[in-house]
Symmetry: C2
Subunit: 500 residues, 2 copies
């Protein structure tokens, strides 16, 4: 096997998506496997993607009243048990700290699987009056869930990075507005930053976050036809506030119980990003989050070397001064073809090729990573042009994903049709549903598909009122039709899909 | 006790600094105690200080070639043992995860106390050629050290937030340049951002980081006369590279062993910041890091309310548009005196008082938090004026600390003088020292003072060559004099102090 083949991607995205994904993640230097199963090492190129996600969300959160905080890594067992008492079905698989130094602890400490049970008691202390509401805190941290599955970087790991937001409100309406505001921000992240349209809705009741009134979700369709839960925002109603005594005195000095929410988005967004856009040449990234947006590859012979490199340096300096994240690959020991392959593998969205012809004609050859489209631009206009090219690359990625999503939402009105359509095409199948978990169970048993979302009533209303077709708001429900599985009266529309 | 007294600080900084500090941290809403001893909950006002520190350091790190990454929270016991084999005296008190879910783990996992032992093996994989060097990664995370001491928020906690940088280099010189570059950045953080001059130097050999060639440190003097280790940067030489096989092929294709460094700064910087500047009215912060830099307190009667509030809103909007972090406290239910006290307690550096007189005269009364100094400024010039006032507040804080430091570095030439001077004044005592740990032990036993630093040779040279007296570079050493403790020939100057 030649050196270049070893460096390149050897697996096929279409025929072997699992191995292909693992290979892209490792060869593009996003992550390595840790010595313990279920853990990964996030390398600088991978972590930079997380930083880009953080920068965007954190700015939006802060503009909308959220402060960051930091709660302990550990939660005493008795605190988790308290949550278990409130929330039926809450039995987290967690990592337990039993010893500190050489001594056994009196009480075991759970490594946080999520922080509701340690945050809620403090919210209870901090909230006294209606003037303290809404109270909004967020933390960027890592959580650990001891689920034994095969490791898939960013998708399935025992430890993962995420943010968890926790809020308390005086009214149900305020808590619901918070829930949907954060869902909107997650949707915006996917659509405006990550180049991926998503479907939005709520989870069926049997799949809500334990203790939640409503769990809302954004779902992204992967090229292999499976859905990824891209972020969830929970309206917790009063269950946590009741249990942890989060009460306040209202304007008339009456004691009232607050309403709470929580919402989280994890590094799974990186996994969805990588899987959605990348190809058999390696990583593909939108310029919005790419650590380097432009790579300049000089092409020279000995007699043109100095002129070409000088020209390239000036172009690089100009772009950098304009805030473009640019890298000039001036390595002597590699030829241009090697460099093209390497930066394609590593996902730089735009490539400049500059040789003696470009220097002489005062031009730049600009190549788009996703499709190799090549064009000549005047050197004099290069800064303006590069922004246009980056926008074009973003649009190409978004459009490809939007088209895939549009083509992969299908209707079904019977059990056989659900099974057959998902079996043949993957993607989402919309069907009228009675609301009974048993009607999902049948589908789940046979093809491991489940109901990944149900449209939000207000989104359905908005869509019905809208003239725009491509809003990716799930369509009005099938209320009153017959459940596709059992034939009873349908209460809503279910979106079935296989899921990560 | 009246409402206002309960809200305010009741302990004295001078007479009861420990309780005073704890009270300021809680009442200024920086942190609360967690249910488990040794852990704290960092509230938004406290976390914002950490974010300000992060923003500054992270920008400087990235400009100087550092990328962020993320390594696992857990380290297998066998990996830690490997470090134990290399490094004499390495026996970390750590939290041990023994169970995942309902099952006992085959190998115990340590919650990271620091990450050398998990990062070094990956550096070994990533470094192949001299072209891969220097390799620099940093992570912002939390670490856990199971040391049983009384909890002191930000100073002594079992879990703390920090950054840990890890680098590999082709040469000893490059590694040493890295070590001092990071020390410079830590010094800059304290002096240019946190308003605190620091002393810089290296730890005596017996107090180095286990395995390090040299541990460098910046030390900040607290008002109670104790020194705080504000950040450390370690030149690790080849000990870790030898043990973890971090080798590279040089330009002649010869295999060589790399040199490594590590460097860290923790949230102890927040503790030092709070303790240095604050007073019996509460928190004092420099405007550089204060979450709110200016608070506007309107002062009105019923007939002037509308005019005063309108004027205040316009001032607030103007400052905000200019990037000043400003809060208009327009609460109806609180009087101005209450608001003054509250914002003094919470450490807003500059207060605007605006009543009917200010409105009529088109002026603003500006009050400095640290000393209550009050002045009138023209409304028309307020944006320029507020920047001057923030600079003045910063300078006042820095100067007060610089003066304290200058007054509290004393000379001693005998054991009795060391003991007596520290006993009476606290602060630093410089004395000629033979280099023997036993000579520190005697001082340590009697008054719990230790050698917190020894001047760096290059800093001594720089100071000798410098015309500036206030550079806070420790002075030239006492080489050739007699050790103040044992009378043997002195090799260096030791700075003795009590230490946090
Ligand atoms: Zn049914
Ligand atoms: Zn001695």
């Amino acid at each position: 096997m030649s050196d270049e083949q070893e460096l390149g991607i050897t697996e096929s995205k279409e025929h072997n998506p699992g191995d292909w994904y693992a290979e892209v993640v490792q060869k593009a230097e996003l992550a390595d496997y840790a010595p313990m199963g279920g853990f990964i090492v996030t390398r600088p190129r991978g972590y930079a993607l997380w930083e880009a996600i953080q920068d965007n969300l954190d700015t939006w959160f802060k503009r909308t009243g959220v402060d960051n905080a930091y709660f302990p890594l550990f939660i005493p067992e008795s605190y988790l048990e308290r949550e278990k008492d409130i929330v039926e079905g809450f039995d987290p698989e967690v990592a337990w700290v039993t010893h500190g130094g050489h001594d056994e602890l009196e009480e075991r400490l759970a490594v946080r699987p999520t922080s509701e049970s340690i945050i809620a008691p403090y919210m209870s202390q901090w909230v006294r009056s209606h003037r303290d509401l809404p109270l909004r805190v967020n933390q960027w941290n890592s959580v650990v869930r001891w689920e034994a599955t095969e490791t898939k970087p960013f998708f399935r790991t025992k430890e993962f990075l995420w943010q968890e937001g926790h809020t308390a409100h005086a009214t149900d309406e305020s808590a619901w507005a918070e829930t949907t505001l954060r869902l909107d921000q997650y949707q915006r992240l996917y659509e405006d930053v990550l180049g991926m349209p998503v479907l939005r809705g709520r989870k069926p009741d049997h799949d809500k976050f334990p203790g939640a009134d409503t769990t809302t979700t954004v779902e992204a369709l992967m090229p292999d036809g499976k859905s990824v839960q891209g972020g969830t925002s929970h309206h917790l109603g009063q269950s946590f506030a009741d249990a942890f005594d989060i009460t306040f005195s209202d304007e008339d000095e009456n004691d009232r119980t607050a309403f709470t929410t929580s919402w989280g988005l994890s590094w799974r967004a990186i996994g969805a990003l990588v899987m959605s856009h990348s190809d058999d040449q390696g990583l593909v990234l939108p310029p919005t989050v790419a650590p380097k947006q432009v790579v300049i590859v000089p092409i020279w012979q000995e007699d043109t070397r100095e002129d070409v490199l000088q020209y390239c340096s000036e172009v690089a300096a100009e772009l950098e001064a304009q805030g473009v994240r640019v890298h000039l690959d001036d390595r002597d020991e590699r030829n241009p073809g090697f460099k093209f392959n390497e930066w394609e593998l590593k996902g730089v969205p735009v490539r400049f090729e500059i040789g003696p012809n470009e220097v002489e004609d005062e031009e730049v050859t600009v190549v788009h990573r996703p499709d190799g489209e090549s064009s000549l631009e005047d050197r004099a206009d290069i800064t303006a042009a590069v922004h246009d090219h980056m926008d074009e690359v973003y649009d190409k990625l978004y459009e490809a994903n939007a088209q895939r999503l549009d083509e992969n939402v299908r209707e079904a009105s019977s059990r056989e049709e659900i099974l057959g359509t998902i079996g043949q095409h993957g993607g989402y199948v919309k069907a009228p549903w009675c609301g009974d978990v048993d009607c999902e169970a049948e589908i789940k048993e046979q093809i491991h598909a489940e109901i990944v979302l149900v449209p939000l009533a207000e989104d359905s209303a908005a869509r019905a009122a809208s003239e725009f077709e491509d809003e990716h708001l799930p369509e009005p429900d099938h209320e009153g039709e017959d459940c596709a599985v059992c034939g009873e009266t349908a209460e809503q529309t279910a979106f079935f899909a296989k899921s990560y």
